[in-house]
Symmetry: C2
């Protein structure tokens, strides 16, 4: 979109007094949640049917606090640069609204802010909780007779939203962690005589989608990861030690991927487990994570040196090796949320639909906000191998198309990526303070 | 180099019975130690003065075990792909030889293996210890009247080798960790209302070069990292807590980089310190690292949530965002080691020399192996700010030219990088087993 087009849109706004739209981001950031925002913003500006596109600083907190800024006034090149900027440029939060009864004041405040700024469209990118919030705001507005369209845009690196083939954000983290396994795997391979074992800990408190993605890097027996542990497969320390020994015997080294939320057969997080192998050593694992715990077990039981790589937030913000497919699909989700909203759709989340056929093709669909809010999608059993320590070809076939292409980034004169920041021209507050 | 040229070189070998060369890699891998190997191999093959180029599997262990393979027989495209492959494709080790007296049998074995395979050139890429080994092997050969040329090639992500402006491997890790600070910094900025503090732990047990490099990402006050702690500046918990509070007051969030080897004013690693703030919490930090320890302090004293990113071996193997400058210079070091050796130079390590002038230009020089072995280069005091919690412009000027350019990588059909592996045609063993 060029400057001229934006000016036309803004002009249209002033003349027609079109209703305004809020776009907001929620929960853990991803490499592409800004691409979704870009899709919303550019489509809304282009439509000529929306007045001011408003950013709610830090998600629903920004709405509650009436902390809003005029995205329509931002430079078009800044808006375009959202596609090359990780995290959440509008600002995110983890503020959780409860039921309409319990959080009544909050919900009413949201509606008051919407009314005060003539906001008739609410585009909310997030996970289950955000879809729940959008759904409740929508119902409250309907009950109050306030015309409002609430549309959800899927976002989560965890890939655990139901009703969508996958979630924007996941393909990029998948590509990044698989690449990290490939690279660090070569390190372990090179120095196995000293650093014999490496444990890569990845995100996924309840679902193993991210851990499973690393399995793609295992192209042949030599390639890391040799063992992949996912929360969906009950974890046993005795079995783990056996499997580590087995790989060591075969290759002289072992590269392990562990999802942060590994659970035992009782469904308890193993980081909370003090039984089994090493009662003394396990009392204080709160300082590390699951990888630190496995390292202790390996060093104690298998008597080899182990190293831990814990990527932390670097995995969900890895714009520099994001999936181009993900960037494009995230944009499409934002775009389609606006198109659907303008066509009269309401109370839905845009979904990604994988078309049937040998060649990967992804289109969008719609799901009820409420259904998404209540759903959860774990790694299906057919994606995990029988021994529960690696993935199957079905998982490879699922994830391979998602990690295709490398998203372009801008590199500055200092050799580092350049990201955008909004100028944030604040909207004048019209209501008393709330937060 | 094309196939034809290689065949000519091999032909020359057979006809002239030129002496052979060993190339070996040692210590912790880097993104570009293979580029140095590539420089050695391609220059040696091109020279027509070296017979077989031999790889010693896993560094000096491969020499001791007579575990050698014929690199001249490898495909030229595999040799070329070394420039796009991280870690150590020939294989590395941490086997440390002591004095000539203490490790007499080892040193004599090395010479025996060299004699058995008519090896007259020894190209060894590594850090201080490797230069020490090369130096001693060289002296032993001279004493025994065996003609041998030993050349060192600098390699260490830690950047702590003396007599060289910087070490191949460092620019790539510098570029990667600075980018990681930039990206994860945006994550903290986006979600500061929940994840208020992030601590990025980077390598550098004794020197703060890697931690310092992240300072480059701090282009303005908003940009991470806000605090950078390096082992060269004595660490105080009380001062740390004050500084965290100060940044929080200003920005509402804080992004911290910690070198893994932070030390207190007595020069002791703080991870070994049980005094100061939180005696109860510190007894078991062996499970995590310095970042986990700082997280505990922050959560306890400042009462905000903190997250840890520990990149581990992913930082030293990050080929996918390696510095092109580094790849080229590492190659040049390998190339110049061969050129110098063929011109009669012996017992030296190739150094990188930063030419005077506004525009960065790097050439090579030479330093005595023995001098390098005994030297160590810490971060100079003028690269650390007065408060000991960030870098100065002098450090920025030092590191900026090093991180220029992105090394090309090959992406496979599965969306992940493709790395090479040697075919490893073994050399027939001529000596009794040793290891």
């Amino acid at each position: 979109m060029d400057m001229k087009l934006r000016e036309v849109c803004k002009g249209a706004n002033v003349m027609s007094s079109s209703p305004n739209a809020i776009v907001a981001q929620s929960g853990g950031p991803t490499a592409v949640i800004n691409s979704s925002a870009c899709g919303v913003i550019q489509e809304a500006l282009k439509s000529g049917k929306i007045g001011t596109v408003i950013g709610a600083t830090n998600g629903i907190l920004g709405v509650l606090g009436e902390d809003l800024f005029d995205i329509s006034a931002e430079k078009p090149e800044a808006i375009e640069a959202l596609k090359r900027t990780p995290a959440a440029a509008i600002g995110s939060c983890r503020y959780k609204l409860k039921s309409l009864e319990e959080s009544k004041a909050d919900f009413e405040r949201i509606l008051d802010v919407f009314k005060a700024h003539d906001i008739r469209y609410f585009f909310y990118a997030g996970g289950n909780d955000s879809m729940d919030t959008a759904d409740k705001v929508n119902k409250l507005a309907a009950d109050a007779g306030y015309e409002l369209v609430c549309m959800g845009i899927p976002k989560t690196v965890d890939n655990d939203l139901a009703f969508t083939d996958h979630c924007p954000g996941y393909p990029s983290v998948a590509k990044y962690v698989a690449m990290c396994a490939a690279e660090a795997g070569r390190d372990t391979e090179a120095l196995y005589t000293a650093d014999t074992c490496t444990i890569l800990e990845v995100m996924g408190r309840n679902a193993g989608w991210i851990a499973a993605a690393t399995g793609l890097a295992h192209r042949c027996e030599e390639d890391a990861p040799h063992l992949v542990y996912m929360p969906e497969a009950a974890f046993s320390f005795a079995k783990f030690v056996d499997e580590v020994r087995e790989v060591l015997k075969r290759l002289g080294r072992v590269f392990i991927v562990a999802g942060e939320g590994l659970k035992n057969s009782k469904g308890q997080y193993i980081t909370a487990d003090t039984g089994a192998f090493a009662k003394d050593s396990f009392g204080h694992v709160q300082l590390g994570g699951v990888a630190d715990m496995l390292k202790v077990v390996i060093e104690k039981e298998v008597k080899i040196k182990a190293r831990c790589n814990r990527l932390g937030t670097n995995q969900r913000s890895a714009m520099h090796f994001a999936s181009l497919t993900d960037v494009n699909e995230a944009y499409m989700c934002g775009q389609m949320a606006v198109r659907n909203a303008l066509e009269g759709v309401n109370g839905k989340m845009v979904t990604l639909v994988r078309e049937k056929g040998a060649k990967y093709k992804c289109t969008t669909g719609l799901a009820e906000l409420r259904d998404v809010a209540n759903g959860e999608k774990k790694l299906p059993v057919e994606f995990i191998n029988e021994r529960g320590n690696h993935i199957t070809d079905a998982m490879r076939d699922y994830v391979r198309p998602l990690v295709q292409g490398e998203a372009p980034i801008t590199i500055g004169e200092d050799g580092l990526p350049v990201f955008m920041r909004f100028e944030r021209k604040p909207l004048e507050k019209k209501l008393p303070n709330y937060l």
